[in-house]
């Protein structure tokens, strides 16, 4: 097998007027499933469009199997693309769509290839129906089937689980795992962390166009779970005895009294969770409510972004 990575970004930036979609991103992706994680507008789709040659970098270089895809159409014979928000031609049947794409990829028997790909995504029974009459989830699966029909070495999937029900998600995730196990390179974007965890052992995290983390998905998850958190506790009384006990225990780094509640900052959420009930009992404090503050995905991305900037990325 060649040492050339399937995807290679070298200092890639892409901007539209004053808006920077991708900022000085460098990475290389090899065989297996890699997740591309980021909030909406983080630059995931632009990154995949750059991979697919649907747009050119404003700076830097994108190479797919060692070549620029836009200037070397022959490389598309090794690539399957599932674009976001682009349902296939509605007046064709699913079989016609997949067979057409297989034919354009010069597959020896496009009809058989289409039937096989539609079977993989679970649409064999309805392949004769027009795509315009399909549900959103079925169209997603047609898109995946057309990307699989020519047996590509590299799959670029932009939010492929959108619109699928849980059972369909499980099926498609199983297909992605199988493709990765076969030694293909699969890059799959999502804005949902637990979805990426289920799909991909490797992950690239984009925030505001910057690559802020990359590596094992489990390590990124660990990093995220260990980040400093703020926890708001609504307690009976003024909560000062409980706050003092928690500070003494070393489970919290800072305390703030806000609107009759206490906000604790901690880098050890597990330790805080264990200490809180015992110390509440000891200080005879009635706890009415415990809730995380700023624990949404945006704040997770913001944390990763800040951390990457601190590391000089």
């Amino acid at each position: 097998m060649s040492d050339v990575p399937a995807i290679e970004f070298a200092g890639v930036s892409r901007w539209y007027g004053d808006t920077v979609a991708v900022a000085d991103v460098s990475f290389a992706v090899g065989p297996g499933v890699t997740g591309l994680l980021g909030h909406n507008g983080a630059g995931k789709s632009t990154t995949l469009k750059l991979c697919a040659g649907f747009t050119s970098p404003s700076a830097g270089a994108v190479r797919i199997f060692g070549v620029e895809p836009r200037r070397n159409p022959s490389v598309y014979g090794r690539i399957g693309v599932v674009p976001d928000q682009s349902p296939p031609w509605p007046f064709l049947t699913a079989h016609e769509v997949v067979e057409l794409v297989a034919r354009l990829h010069r597959v020896a028997d496009p009809g058989a290839a289409a039937a096989r790909a539609l079977d993989i995504v679970g649409l064999a029974d309805v392949a004769g129906r027009k795509v315009g009459g399909y549900s959103h989830g079925m169209r997603q699966r047609v898109k995946l089937a057309q990307a699989l029909a020519h047996d590509p070495d590299l799959l670029l999937l932009d939010e492929p689980l959108n619109g699928l029900d849980p059972a369909q998600r499980r099926e498609i995730i199983a297909v992605l795992h199988r493709l990765g196990d076969e030694g293909r390179t699969v890059i799959v974007s999502s804005h949902v962390l637990h979805e990426v965890e289920r799909m991909a052992p490797q992950v690239l995290v984009l925030v505001n166009g910057h690559l802020v983390a990359e590596g094992q998905t489990s390590a990124i998850r660990q990093l995220i779970s260990e980040r400093p958190r703020t926890i708001r506790v609504a307690a009976g009384g003024d909560g000062r005895p409980l706050a003092g006990a928690l500070v003494d225990s070393g489970a919290v780094d800072a305390v703030r009294f806000e609107d009759g509640a206490v906000e604790f900052e901690t880098a050890d959420v597990d330790g805080f969770s264990r200490a809180l009930p015992a110390l509440a009992r000891r200080t005879d404090t009635l706890i009415r409510r415990v809730e995380p503050v700023g624990d949404d995905l945006e704040s997770v991305y913001a944390y990763l972004h800040e951390r990457a900037r601190g590391a000089g990325r």
Partner: protein, 239 residues
């Protein structure tokens, strides 16, 4: 160079569009005019003169130009708009092949709408005086002019987000106004070269800018160059 599956797909998409019905109605307008003329004209009227003016002053510069422009833009622009172009571009087909095929499909759809209208108009106006050359030269003029218009439309649909506006400005402002009184401007008018072919058999309208052979070469060259520019744009613009 023509990619069969893409040609059939594009032609089908173009003919299934609702706007094609409107374009068919526009293309049929000369038939209505010819019918009115056939019913109202006296026996000693100069049928060839009316037919010549209809073809050279209305059919080629306005109706054929607009129909070819809209269909040519649709062939690529609609797929760019709805994202289906991704499925074609992400294949190992040559970029010039993809664009040439799209233009060829647009041209076919354009001719399917225009040629029957032109032939029926000729038969209604010329009646028994119609011969093969009085139909074939205008058909050739329309066919080659629309080939060039489709090429330009395809290229514009990749270069700009407002290809129809720019195309209509070219047809109305440049061809319809500036080129009619400035002889040098008519050298950059597709319609003028189309009319040059028609004038070979129907000389009653304006003097042709060139003879028929150079007109054929220029119109084919215009289509080829705009296809090449379109292929170049396909690897440069954001899809």
């Amino acid at each position: 160079m023509i990619i069969g599956p893409v040609y059939r797909l594009t032609l089908r998409a173009l003919l299934l569009q609702r706007r094609t019905i409107l374009l068919a109605l526009l293309a049929a307008a000369p038939v209505v005019m010819a019918l009115v003329y056939a019913l109202a004209a006296s026996a000693d009227a100069h049928h060839f003169r009316f037919y010549s003016h209809l073809v050279q002053d209305l059919f080629i510069p306005t109706i054929a130009a607009v129909v070819a422009l809209v269909i040519g833009v649709s062939a690529i622009g609609d797929e760019r708009e709805d994202g289906t172009i991704y499925y074609l571009v992400a294949t190992p087909q040559s970029r010039i092949g993809l664009i040439a095929t799209k233009v060829a499909a647009a041209w076919t759809a354009t001719l399917l709408l225009l040629v029957p209208s032109l032939v029926i108009s000729a038969l209604l106006i010329l009646k028994g005086a119609a011969d093969a050359s009085s139909i074939l030269w205008p058909v050739a003029g329309v066919a080659l002019a629309t080939l060039a218009y489709c090429g330009v439309a395809g290229w514009l649909s990749l270069r700009t987000r407002r290809p129809i506006v720019i195309g209509v400005l070219y047809i109305l402002l440049w061809e319809g106004s500036i080129a009619t009184f400035a002889a040098s401007a008519s050298k950059l008018s597709i319609a003028a070269y189309g009319r040059a072919l028609v004038a070979e058999r129907l000389p009653e309208a304006a003097a042709p800018v060139v003879g028929p052979a150079p007109a054929v070469v220029i119109l084919i060259a215009a289509a080829a160059i705009t296809c090449w520019l379109g292929a170049r744009a396909l690897v440069r613009v954001e899809l």
